[in-house]
Symmetry: C2
Amino acid sequence: MLGLMQDWPLLCTKVLDHAATYHGRREVVSRSVEGPVHRTDYATLRRRSLRVAKRLEREGIGLGDRCATLAWNTWRHMEVWYGLLGLGAIYHTVNPRLFADQITWIVNHAEDRLLFVDLTFLPLVEKIAADLKTIEKIIVLTDPDHMPEVSLPKEVAVYEDWLAEADDDFAWKTFDENTAAGMCYTSGTTGSPKGVVYSHRSNVLHAMAAVTPDMMAISSRDRVMPVVPLFHANGWSLAFSGPLAGATLVLPGPRMEGEAIHGLLQDERVTMTAAVPTVWLMLLHHLEATGGTLDYLKRVVIGGSACPRAMTEAFQTRYGVEVYHAWGMTEMSPLGSICTLTPEYADLEGAARLDIQEKQGHPPFTVEMRVTDDEGTDVPWDGKTFGRLKVRGPAVAEAYFKGEGGEICDADGFFDTGDVAHMDANGYMQITDRSKDVIKSGGEWISTIDLENLAVGHPDVAEAAVIGVAHPKWDERPLLVIVPREGREPSRDDILAFMAGRVAKWWLPDDVVLVEEIPHTATGKIKKTALRDQFGDYRLPTA
Amino acid sequence: MLGLMQDWPLLCTKVLDHAATYHGRREVVSRSVEGPVHRTDYATLRRRSLRVAKRLEREGIGLGDRCATLAWNTWRHMEVWYGLLGLGAIYHTVNPRLFADQITWIVNHAEDRLLFVDLTFLPLVEKIAADLKTIEKIIVLTDPDHMPEVSLPKEVAVYEDWLAEADDDFAWKTFDENTAAGMCYTSGTTGSPKGVVYSHRSNVLHAMAAVTPDMMAISSRDRVMPVVPLFHANGWSLAFSGPLAGATLVLPGPRMEGEAIHGLLQDERVTMTAAVPTVWLMLLHHLEATGGTLDYLKRVVIGGSACPRAMTEAFQTRYGVEVYHAWGMTEMSPLGSICTLTPEYADLEGAARLDIQEKQGHPPFTVEMRVTDDEGTDVPWDGKTFGRLKVRGPAVAEAYFKGEGGEICDADGFFDTGDVAHMDANGYMQITDRSKDVIKSGGEWISTIDLENLAVGHPDVAEAAVIGVAHPKWDERPLLVIVPREGREPSRDDILAFMAGRVAKWWLPDDVVLVEEIPHTATGKIKKTALRDQFGDYRLPTA
Ligand SMILES: Nc1ncnc2c1ncn2[C@@H]1O[C@H](COP(=O)(O)O)[C@@H](O)[C@H]1O
C-alpha cells in the first residue's frame, strides 16, 4: 500500500524557486572578476537563470547535455548552474588549477558541449581550445565592455550579449528527480580522474541535510560566504544550501588572499564562511600582520583536509569565531560529517574542547558510516581503533561516469572512502590517514597523519609528510619528510627526541629527511604518490 | 541521463537508526500513564522497536497492515510506531477525544487489525470493542503489575508480556519509500472523517524540513517536549524530527494541565516545546497563579489555531520564551509555515514585532503556497488582499484513503487548504479565515477571525465567534456571538462601539448575541457549523 502524498520531485530549481519566492530580496553579493562588487538578489537571479535556460535551449542544449564551467564563485556562475539545471542539462565544474592536459582530458571525457569561462582563464583556454573536441562554443562570463581580443578556434560569445538574446518567459522543465544534475571529477591520485555525477535528488537532499542545526546551521539571517570554489567538490553544496535556507550569499570571485577575504567578511557582515585550511592560513596571517578583527563572523567551516589545532584555537580564542571542522569528499556531494558539539561535549572548554574539535565530527541524517578492518568486520567505536571508513547514503556515489573504476560499493552498498578513521562512543569520527598512505608495520597500522601533526608541532618544522618505505623485517616503516622553517636546520635526532614519548615507540619514524618543498595536488593536499616515487628506493638506517 | 548516486530510500526507520547510532545515549523521558517518570534512550528505544517489529510479524502483521493506537505520548507509543514502520505496516493514531461512534467508524474504515491502547482509554474501548469489526487483538500499553481486570470481546494482551515473547534480533524490512507509513483522520467539519495517508518519504522529507533553522530549529542540544499528542496531525512530526536531530525527547504522557507541564519543563530542562493555544493557556494560568518561572525553555511552537497576541506577549516579555507561531494541517504532515523572523523583520521590537508574530509565517523548502481568488487568479502579495490558500509539496496530501472526497488537488497539483489568507511582500502568510466561514457581503469578503480577535479584546468578552447570517440585500452579514466574562453583561452597543474605528465600517457585525457557551470540536476549535445551525434563522435587525 502506497502513501497518498503528492508527487513532488526533488529538483534543484525548486530550491531557487523557494529562495526567489520567500526570500526574494535577500542579496547575492559577488566580487566580480572585473573588479567591482556586484549586487543582486534571489528574485533577480532566478529571472536571469530562466533566461539562461531559455537561451541554452535555443543553443540546442537539453536533457542530459553536459556544459563545462571554468569559473570563480560569482552570480553569473550560479545563473549558469541553475539555467542548466532547469533544462535537465548538467553543470560540469572544471578545476582550473589542474594541469592543462588534465583539463583537456576531463572536458573530452565528459563530452561537454559548451564552455563557460571567466576572463581569468582565457589564456588557459586559448592554449587548449583546439583539443576540446566536443566543445561547440565558448561563452566568456563578462560583458562587452570587458571582453578582450581572443583568438580561439571555436565560436565565442560574450555572456551578457548572449544572454540578452533571450527573455525570462520560460518555465523550468520537469523530469525524474534522479536525473543527472552536475558533474565533478575527483583529482584521483591513481589512474585518470573519475567523474562523479550528482542527481537532482542527491543535491536537494544533501542541501536539506547541510543546513540543519547540527551541520552548517544555515538560516535566513545568515550571510554566507562560500570561499570554497564551486569547482571544488560540488562547492560544498552552498549554491544549493544557501538559497534553500534563504541566506544572503557573498561570493568572493577570484580573490582569495587574506586582504580580499577579510574585506568582504567585514564589509558584507558575513556570519558564516567555508573553505580549506590553506585559505584560512592566509587570512590568519593577514589578520596578524594588520591587527584586523572579525566583527561579524560567527563560524567558519573548515575541511578538505584536517584542520590544524592551532588554527581552531586562533579562530576561537583570538577572533571569537567558532570552528566547525568538516569532512567530506567529492563522492559525497560532499558533506560527510561536521564537528559541532553534541550534549556529551558541548560544555567542554579549553584544551579538552580542542581535543574533540580535532575530530571530523558526526554525520548528518542521510550519511551512514562504518569503520571496518581488512576483513570487513566493524571495529569497536572506542575512539582509537582505526580501520577503513565506509559510507552510504542518498548523496554518496554509486559509480563513476562511464563506469570508470568499476563497482565502487560493497555488497552492503557502502562506498569505501579511502580514508582510515576511528569512531568514538558518541559517534564522532576522526580521520587518521588515507588507506593508501597508512603504514603497515608488521601487520599493525601506523597513522601517517598523526605523525605529521606531531612533527609540525616542532618549532623548526614548516611542513611534514610521512610515507611508508620498504623494510626487510617489518614490511614497511615510516619515513618522515620535512620542510624546515626558513633559516632552521633541525637534526634528525632533535626531531625524533621531540616526538618520542608523545606517540607509541614503534610508531616513531625510522628516519628523517629534510627537503625544500613537498609536492601538492591541485586541491592543496600532500601528493604522497610523488613522495613515494621520490623516496621509493630510500634505504632506512634500520633496514 | 540519470545521476550516479546511491539508491537510499527515505524510510522512517533510518531516522531512528541515525538517532540510535550517533545520538544513542540521548534520553527519551516520559511521564508514564502509570504515573512515574520513565527514562530510556534512543539506542534502547531502537532495540525495543525491533522487538515490536519481530513480535508484530509473528502476529501476522506486515506490509500495508493498519494498526490503531489510542495512546498518549510515551516511549511505548513511539516503539509501536517504529515497530510498525519497520515492517511497512501503518501506524494509525486515533484521537481518543472523538465521540465513541466516530472512533468506531474510523477504526472500521481504516480496517485496523490490532489496537494498542493506554490504560486511560480502556473504559472507552470496553464500550466500543464489540463494534470494531476488523480488530483481532487489543494490546494494553502497560506491564502486568498495572494491568486491571478487563472485559473485552476480543483477545487481549499486556504489552510488556507480549513484547517479552520476542527478542531484538531483527532487521527492518526495506521497500519503496512511497510505501504508506501512517494514517490520521481529519475531524472534517463536513461529511465523514477522511483518512490522510503519510508515506515514508513524506514523513522523512517533512522531518528534514521541520528541523531547519528557520522552522523548528531542532538541534542535538535541544530537549524537546511534544505536548501536542501523536494523534494530532501526525504529532507535528516530532516523533521523527526529534530523533532526526538527535534531540532529547520529553514526553508528557497523559497529563497536560499547567502544573504537570510546568513540572516537566523545569525538571527536565526542556528547551523547546510545541502544542495548541489551549495547552499554553493552562500553563500561563498556572504560572500566574503560582509565580512560576520558565528557566530553561527557549522557544514554544504554537499552532493548530491562531496564537492570540496576548499569549505571544506573555511568553516573550514575562517569561523570556520566544513564540514560534506555526500553521499546518493534518493533510500537510502537518507543517505549513512558521513565523520565525527573516532579516526583514528580525530587528523589530515591541508592538511591531508582535504585529508580525500574529502572522503564521513563511513556509520551509518543500512547501509551496499560493493564494487565489474564486477564479483561481493569484492575489497580490500585499499583506492585505486575501483569498484561498493552496499548497503543494511532497508532504501534502494528494488524496484521502479509499478515494473519499474524490480529487482534492487542482490541475496544477495544488491542494486547497480551506483556509483564507493573505501573503505579504516578504512571503509571510496570515490566515484570516476558513473559506467556509468567511462572510461574503455584497461580493466582498469579511474575515470572521479578524472580527473575533477584535471582539475578545473587549474587557467583558471571554470568547467570541462570528458567523454569516442571511441578509436580503447583502446576501450575508456578520453576527457576533459572545461568551461574556463571568459576572459581566456587556451591551450590544458597547461592544460595537469598542469595535468601531478598529475595522472597516462595513465589516462591523450587524448584531451581537450573548451565549453561555460556544461549541467546540474535539481538537478545541470553534464549531461554526453548530453555531450556524443554532442561528440559521436569526433575523438581523438590519434585514
Ligand atoms: N577535515 C578533513 N580532515 C582530513 N582529511 C580530509 C578532511 N576533509 C577532507 N579530507 C580528505 O579529502 C578527501 C576528499 O577529497 P576531495 O574529494 O578532493 O574533496 C577525503 O577522502 C579525505 O581524505
